[in-house]
Symmetry: C2
Subunit: 419 residues, 2 copies
């Protein structure tokens, strides 16, 4: 078992938590948007830590940072094993979402170095730019560029709400590098991330091996009724857009819940609902709903969208409202590579860490990488499932255990004899 | 039958429609907020028309305009019969809401003058200030002051969204008068208003005699759930505040609809709904609903509020959300005086105008007046029930027919021999 150091990992993550830290309230909050001063400081520390471990650091055109370890035993022309996560956060986010996976990747390399193992492939430790999409609006930005999903030029032209481009944000902090990372050149990719759910804590497991990342579609539903006087319009003369929207919201919940155990990975959420004119004494004339539907099966997503459409048609017929559905966003589900899952499960066994296989309902950079090379994702437990919140927490022993699983899998994929 | 002039009434209302008129779109839109230039111009025309009919005009401290007719046959110390409505509008309101009743009252006096009838009581034609409550926030403002519900000092200190006081708004247009109109001194009050519903057009009746004005209560319901990740939170681990709010919205609709025909006057509306954080990919953590409940029976209103509370408790228990209900606003229902209703119905018969008895779901200045003296309310038909909209429309023949009913009832109440 590789000598992962909980002390070293914790020291890195705690130091990273100082950048953009929120002093108020409970927990350990931080706000680290891409291209801000806090993000620059967090990147600087990461680069120093990579260099301290003897890694060669490069920064690409969208600010993705790569620390490359070319062990003397490796064929430097062989495709690398890559591993990492992100350092940006949501506003008032927590300590672990991103930094755990980024520093765990570095810790895995340091543990291999300490153990004197002999990898046959180079290993790259990666920090992707703007995973959260909180400043320039496109989540998974760095990995989208590294996988050809978004062009570098297009990504650099994205602007924040003040009109500042992504290019100048990165330049400002000294992280607009050159070239473009190409994830398809990697032999395999692994990411450690917090679960953001409660399945691991419920099962008392320290690591979860992800089988698939759910696909996502967003539908925007416009419901048009009649805005009438709440006093002078009898109940049987109304075309209330909000009552119609309420039926649809409950239908979406019921559909996603499903009647059979087979649909346990499906989720459906009406997260956004805007009423017009939104006055207590006026019957709502129009409502717009933002619907988020996810599942690990594309067929299941399509089936849920079809059910949503059927429900909307029934409600329109029953209530005399007009309903239109727009569906501008769809990202298909991605299965994790069998060899990556096997490497992670075997590493868990060797390290005597209780593991669980599960799916990811949340999107991660790994979702992009899986489209161009073999990819794997491993979760560490989230206390009470809380994330994107200063109260986000993973016990340090669990951080170390999940990092040991990650390190063991990297070593295995890199050709180290782990038997 | 009194010789009500459709031409004269139409000319007054069309001329009034020029003040604050909206040029764009279909219909006849106007924006006449209290104390604005448009409101000043509309008031000036009204005063000129009152004076042209020989009425003595006074303006009280809150800008209520009274045109008093002291017929030679009347005892000038007797309590007056008063009649009128308002000239202010909602933003982009229509031609008839307020002006019809204001100018119909004047037309009733002119018709009596033309007919040479002999009233035994003085008659007062009234325009109340800020019925719509669109600038200084208190609807029914002028009648609230005239009935002692709001003090003159308090009313004058109300401010608009730019911090301008009601006092200076009225001064600006020359309508901050002196003293305070006391509606309790009137022997009786009548108001003609558009229905803002479709019961009259459905029944093909030109006038509706109101039996009672519905009471109103507003409840604000706060629902607290947990804002969680829409992807990583399984359906059975959610505390979705919007799904809970949707159930409550449908419960309120079902309650107000009722299962028995006896509750046909009850209405319940969720007019306002605000979601937090209101992002498509986040499970709603909190929702606030603004609920409007009305009925002509106070017991029915209380029963609906009790049902709302029971529903909220059930939903809270079922879904694990926390629900609190605040109820800051309640105006009890008001019955119209039997003698006023009888006078209106009899006048309809004499004028051969088809009348209908019905309740008012909307509040009107008459609601205040009914608390201090005998009051009656008569409706003219609204095409398609549309109001607060440039498309608001009442056929001129219907305007004249309803005015004939009003004039006949005023004459009757003022002691004219109508037999």
């Amino acid at each position: 078992m590789l000598p992962v150091s909980q002390r070293r990992l914790r020291s890195d993550i705690e130091a990273n938590g100082e950048f953009g830290s929120i002093d108020e309230g409970d927990g350990y909050g931080r706000t680290v948007l891409a291209g801000t001063e806090a993000n620059g400081a967090a990147r600087d520390q990461f680069v120093h830590r990579l260099e301290a471990a003897g890694l060669d650091v490069t920064v690409d055109g969208i600010g993705n940072i790569v620390g490359r370890w070319d062990p003397p035993t490796a064929d430097s022309t062989a495709a690398a094993i890559a591993c990492g996560s992100h350092l940006d956060s949501v506003p008032e986010g927590g300590l672990f979402d991103g930094p755990l996976g980024t520093y765990a990747a570095l810790e895995a390399v340091r543990a291999m170095q300490d153990a004197g193992v002999h990898p046959l492939r180079p290993i790259e430790v990666v920090c992707f730019t703007e995973e959260e999409g909180q400043r320039f609006g496109n989540g998974l930005l760095g990995s989208s560029v590294a996988t050809g999903r978004t062009s570098l030029a297009e990504a650099l032209e994205l602007t924040d709400e003040d009109g500042v481009t992504c290019a100048s944000g990165l330049e400002e902090i000294g992280y607009r590098g050159t070239g473009c990372l190409d994830a398809s050149e990697w032999d395999a990719w692994l990411e450690l991330h917090i679960e953001q759910g409660t399945r691991l804590t419920t099962a008392d497991a320290a690591a979860g091996v992800v089988t698939a990342i759910a696909g996502i579609t967003h539908c925007y539903v416009d419901i048009a009724g009649h805005a009438d006087h709440a006093g002078s319009t009898p109940m049987d003369c109304r075309t209330d857009a909000l009552a119609a929207a309420s039926e649809l919201t409950l239908d979406i919940e019921a559909m996603a819940r499903g009647d059979t155990p087979g649909s346990s990975t499906a989720v459906g959420t009406v997260g956004r609902l805007d009423v017009s004119p939104n006055a207590t004494n006026v019957i709502p004339g129009a409502v717009r709903l933002g619907v988020d539907i996810r599942d690990v099966s594309e067929a299941s997503i399509e089936s849920l969208v079809a059910e949503l459409t059927t429900s909307a048609e029934r409600i329109a017929a029953d209530r005399g409202v007009e309903i239109s559905i727009d569906r501008p966003y769809f990202v298909p589900p991605e299965s994790m590579a069998e060899r990556c899952q096997s490497a992670l499960l075997a590493a868990g066994d060797r390290a005597a860490v209780d593991t669980l296989t599960l799916h990811s309902g949340a999107a991660h950079d790994t979702m992009n990488i899986a489209r161009v090379t073999d990819a794997g994702l491993v979760f560490a437990p989230s206390r009470d499932g809380i994330s994107h919140n200063p109260l986000e927490w993973t016990d340090w022993t669990d951080c170390a255990a999940a990092t040991a699983v990650l390190a063991g899998a990297i070593a295995d994929l890199a050709g180290v004899d782990v038997s």
